[in-house]
């Protein structure tokens, strides 16, 4: 089956020749028309549209956006804050950056619509510290939008006022975790908070109800406000509505970002047709479908079970190539859609070395607050880098797995899962490579191979 055509609703203007990130260009392309209409509607209507749309958060967890908004404590009398999570740090993910760099007003418009819908008077864009350029672009774009009265006091004469501020992170992955982000925004170490009691919807920024949404999610909100929740929910598949942006990196002919209606394209179509297949003379070995913390898939493995299609349960028997790229299907086969960062590895990759790289990242990024993640991530890193750079023992595979098993589900935030799933899945699927690594190490590296971390 040939791959479906791309449908770019968020990335509509990304890389469009002649499209610039200033407000003039945005308005020429119909920009801020949705906001103008939205501020004339009832906020509850907009929330209902989002609920109807079935929009799921694009930051990684895929939590329904309408439900998230529905959980906000609106009776406390405290101000409600909206935070745009632009701390895009998951290795393999590079979608939000393009939106902010090339189409920042789309984000600002989506943000303002969401703020209006939720009666938010103050929004923050928390942008990753490593994206200074993006921060400058956003600052400029907000200033332009303020000058045009799309942001700031008495927006478009409606009496509704809302400010947006850009806050730069200082270079920590954990600031992408929403409660860690909130701590960081408050000026503290980004130690994620315990939940309960600190659910952002109730006790978020400055102990006030807070909505934290991903950049892409808010752009989807703009689309929903424009076309209605009903129309949006028809894009993609039931339960996985809208489009998904896939950031394909690694060993394919054409890495890059691709936007498709969710669930309409399979992994095989994406990699082989859209991305042009493996590099010449190579074959695909493994793929991480949703950012580096998602569990890895091994080409050649089969996934069997029953799934719900419409009202009935159907058997499925998929290879990696057959898996539809949506939250639920990827969840069914034991991994996740995550942030859409598809990392492809071909047969030149040694899985021990790949895992050593991932472990080095996660041990460096653990905030250090709670024990299992703090100690476990570094221990796993020490084991995997010892295997790569020192003595590899056949029993290290079992040890790595056992250490990884002691982390998930026992930590304050989802970083415990993020740092242990790679190890768990690499060992589960490529256990032999780990057991035999002491032998593999003795073969010489090919010419021009990169230095190991």
């Amino acid at each position: 089956m040939p791959a479906p055509a791309q449908r770019r609703i968020i990335f509509q203007h990304i890389d469009e020749p002649g499209y610039t990130n200033d407000i003039g260009c945005y308005v020429r392309n119909g920009g801020y028309e949705v906001l103008k209409k939205a501020v004339g509607r009832k906020p509850e209507e907009l929330i209902d549209e989002v609920k109807k749309s079935g929009l799921r958060g694009r930051g990684g967890a895929g939590f329904p956006c309408g439900v998230k908004w529905g959980l906000v404590d609106r009776k406390s009398g405290k101000p409600i804050y909206l935070i745009v999570n632009a701390d895009e740090s998951e290795p393999g993910t590079f979608k939000d950056r393009y939106i902010m760099h090339q189409d920042p007003h789309q984000l600002i418009e989506g943000t303002m619509i969401s703020c209006f819908a939720n009666n938010v008077k103050q929004a923050y864009i928390y942008i990753r510290g490593e994206m200074p350029h993006g921060a400058r672009i956003l600052e400029k774009a907000i200033a332009e939008a303020r000058a045009a009265n799309f942001v700031g006091p008495n927006i478009l004469g409606t009496g509704y006022s809302c400010e947006i501020f850009v806050h730069r992170g200082a270079g920590a992955y954990i600031c992408g975790e929403e409660t860690g982000l909130i701590e960081s925004l408050e000026g503290k170490r980004a130690n994620p908070r315990i939940k309960p009691p600190y659910f952002p919807a109730v006790l978020g920024l400055y102990q006030c109800p807070t909505i934290v949404n991903n950049v892409e999610t808010l752009c989807h909100v703009k689309y929903i406000a424009e076309h209605g929740g009903e129309a949006y929910s028809k894009i993609g598949t039931p339960g996985n509505t809208g489009t998904r942006i896939f950031c394909v990196s690694g060993h394919v002919q054409r890495p890059g970002y691709y936007e498709f209606p969710a669930g309409t394209i399979t992994m095989g179509q994406l990699l082989n047709e859209v991305c042009g297949g493996p590099l010449p003379g190579r074959t695909f070995k493994a793929v991480i479908p949703g950012g580096s913390s998602a569990k890895i898939l091994r080409f050649g493995e089969r996934f069997k079970g029953k799934r719900k299609v419409g009202a009935e349960m159907l058997d499925y028997d998929w290879g990696v190539e057959d898996v539809p790229m949506d939250f639920d299907s990827l969840g069914m086969i034991g991994t996740m859609g995550g942030s859409g960062g598809v990392i492809v590895m071909d047969d030149t990759v040694n899985m021990v070395e790949a895992l050593a790289n991932i472990n080095a990242f996660y041990s460096h990024e653990s905030c250090g607050q709670c024990t299992p993640c703090r100690e476990g991530s570094l221990w796993m890193k020490k084991i995997s880098s010892r295997m790569v750079h020192g003595l590899a023992r056949p029993e290290d595979a079992a040890l790595l797995k056992s250490v990884a098993d002691q982390i998930p589900g026992r930590t304050i935030c989802a970083f415990g899962e993020a740092c242990s799933w790679p190890t768990q899945s690499f060992i589960a699927k490529f256990g032999d490579e780990f057991k035999q690594y002491s032998e593999t190490k003795k073969t010489a590296k090919p010419e021009g191979a990169h230095e190991l971390v």
Binding site: P196, T371, W379
Partner: protein, 572 residues
């Protein structure tokens, strides 16, 4: 099954045991009530909850109900309501009880979680227990034994961190031992409001340190040592001095102010090594000022009085008492003798002081000792037991200012003899000229101008060498006990006072504290139903209403508000 819970109580099931606990109790505290230990490091009952050590993971479930009908779903196997167990372990510290909550602390999931956390905590820990001061009272050591695997799988290099950071004048930090529980950080921030500690670096390289340019030098810094569950924070004073298991623990009361913080005095073979707080949720919680921990240094001070002196020459106790009796006899005119009692004396001593003053028809006064309170555990009244003097009737008005009234009476030639009990009259405002005009009988533990000028010097004991009671600012009577024997040559204050009373009035009073309490109970109505042996360790509130009108010096401190004086509790 237990009786239906009261409205403010919640019935929970912990390891199969049902218990009703107050709303808002967390699982660790609820489990404590049924003698189930939930191991923990970062949780401290008096600090905010951060849930970062993950040692208190427990398995938790709620009774199953049908979502639509809200009817209980029964388990056919047991005939009881089915429990929906949460598949992931939850933290006991951050989980408050809710009706019907079921908790398992011994399930395989919990055991596995604890073993995992213990292993993680130990991999980068130096395991230097043989040279660590915390050994013997180390939670890591205890819980590794109780809940750990008992073997190591870690063959990598351990992290290297600073080994002896001087955080402040009294606290030394070994960062390698630190398990990053953040108790010390929270204590400094929340209790002392001196936010000087924090972590730098990330992940397993996180390191506890002071903010640049700051020091942990507040008067409560040593509490961080107490609450440190491991040997990371150590007292610079106690470090490497003594193994804790050799030390004898004696309950005592802090004497530096009228707060009356509860303490434990740690001693071995007559030598005190340290003082730590003793939990009393109505007085000092689990805290103690640093200044209270060095008071024991006075015990071995070089200016201790150890020789009974009569007109400058050494003598026996009875000779000295007789010499005092002679002075009393030759000045029998009413008002010729003045007794300067002490707000630092125990209730028992103050009672005998009153008896002595009565026998001598002497005027009585107390030395006022007012400073600035710190709103935490040091109150403005630096005498620990002014209220004891009120209760025993030694005084009826609060001491105020210096002893100028007494000085005037000396100058007028009215007062000829002063019995000074542990108070330096010169420091209290009498001039050296005035001191030469009177004969001083001095009872006290340390040398001072009064003891130098005294006709009769009777060396007595420091508070660490005797037992007794103090009445704190809340009118809470609290016991303290003898931790170490007094020096040779010093006599128990009660013995000296009892002998003086006998010499002055021919009245025999017991000098042994339990026997003396029978007399006190009979004569002091406020203490009528009590006996020393029966006083609870956390003290007993006395009826403060007779003294409600007095202008006490204290401002607000922990668990004390001056505007609403502690109201009488049952003294049964």
């Amino acid at each position: 099954m237990i009786a239906p819970a009261k409205p403010d109580l919640v019935t929970v099931n912990i390891d199969g045991k049902e218990i009703a606990v107050p709303k808002g109790t967390n699982v660790i505290e609820a489990a404590r009530l049924v003698n189930v230990d939930v191991p923990h490091y970062c949780y401290h009952p008096k600090l905010s909850i951060v849930g970062n050590c993950r040692m208190c993971l427990i398995e938790m479930g709620m009774p199953a109900v049908d979502p639509s009908t809200k009817a209980a779903i029964m388990d056919p196997a047991t005939g009881k309501q089915k429990i929906n167990w949460i598949p992931r372990p939850q933290i006991g510290c951050g989980t408050n009880v809710s009706p019907g909550l079921h908790v398992k602390t011994l399930s395989p999931m919990v055991k596995d979680a604890r073993e995992g956390v213990m292993e993680f905590l130990l991999i980068n820990h130096p395991l230097d227990c043989p040279i660590c001061d915390q050994a013997g009272e180390c939670k890591l050591q205890e819980q590794a034994t109780g809940y750990g695997r008992g073997y190591s799988r870690f063959i990598e290099q351990k992290n290297v961190k600073p080994k002896r950071t001087q955080l402040g004048p009294r606290v030394t930090l070994d960062d390698e031992r630190c398990i990053l529980c953040s108790r010390c950080i929270r204590f400094s921030k929340e209790i002392v409001k001196d936010d000087v500690l924090g972590f730098v670096d990330r992940g397993s390289y996180s390191t506890l340190t002071c903010y640049p340019g700051k020091k942990l030098e507040n008067n409560y810094s040593l509490n961080t040592v107490d609450i440190c569950p491991v040997g990371a924070l150590t007292s610079s004073d106690f470090r490497f001095k003594m193994r804790v298991w050799f030390l004898k623990q004696t309950n005592a009361i802090d004497t530096e102010s009228s707060v009356g913080a509860n303490t434990v005095v740690w001693s071995r073979e007559g030598v005190i090594y340290r003082i730590t707080p003793r939990r009393n949720d109505d007085v000092n919680d689990t805290w103690l000022a640093d200044s209270a921990r060095v008071l024991f240094k006075a015990v071995k001070a070089s200016d201790r009085l150890t020789a009974i002196k009569i007109n400058g020459t050494d003598g026996a106790l009875d000779v000295a008492v007789n010499a005092a009796a002679e002075l009393f006899k030759s000045n029998s005119a009413p008002g010729a003798i003045a007794v300067v009692g002490s707000g630092r004396s125990s209730v028992e001593e103050q009672f005998l002081t009153r008896k002595l003053a009565d026998a001598l028809k002497a005027s009585t006064q107390l030395v006022s000792r007012v400073g600035q309170g710190d709103q935490l555990l040091i109150s403005a009244d630096r005498n620990p037991n002014v209220r004891g003097a009120l209760v025993t009737g030694l005084i009826t008005a609060l001491p105020f200012g210096e002893l100028t009234g007494l000085g005037a009476q000396i100058d007028a030639g009215k007062v000829k003899v002063i019995v000074a009990i542990n108070e330096d009259l010169a420091a209290a405002g009498l001039t050296s000229a005035q001191l030469t005009k009177v004969s001083v009988v001095y009872l006290g533990s340390h040398f001072n101008a009064s003891s130098a000028a005294a006709k009769v010097v009777l060396p007595t004991l420091s508070p660490f060498e005797k037992s007794g009671t103090f009445v704190n600012q809340q009118f809470r009577i609290q016991k303290f006990f003898k931790a170490v024997p007094g020096p040779v040559g010093a006599t128990d204050d009660l013995m000296v006072l009892a002998k003086l009373v006998t010499a002055a009035a021919g009245l025999t009073l017991p000098a042994e504290i339990n026997a003396l309490w029978k007399v006190i109970a009979a004569e002091v109505p406020a203490l009528g139903t009590m006996a020393f042996a029966n006083l609870p360790e956390t003290g007993l509130l006395l009826d403060a209403t007779p003294f409600a009108a007095l202008p006490f010096a204290e401002g607000e401190t922990l668990h004390y508000k001056p505007a609403q004086p502690a109201v009488a509790a049952a003294t049964a």
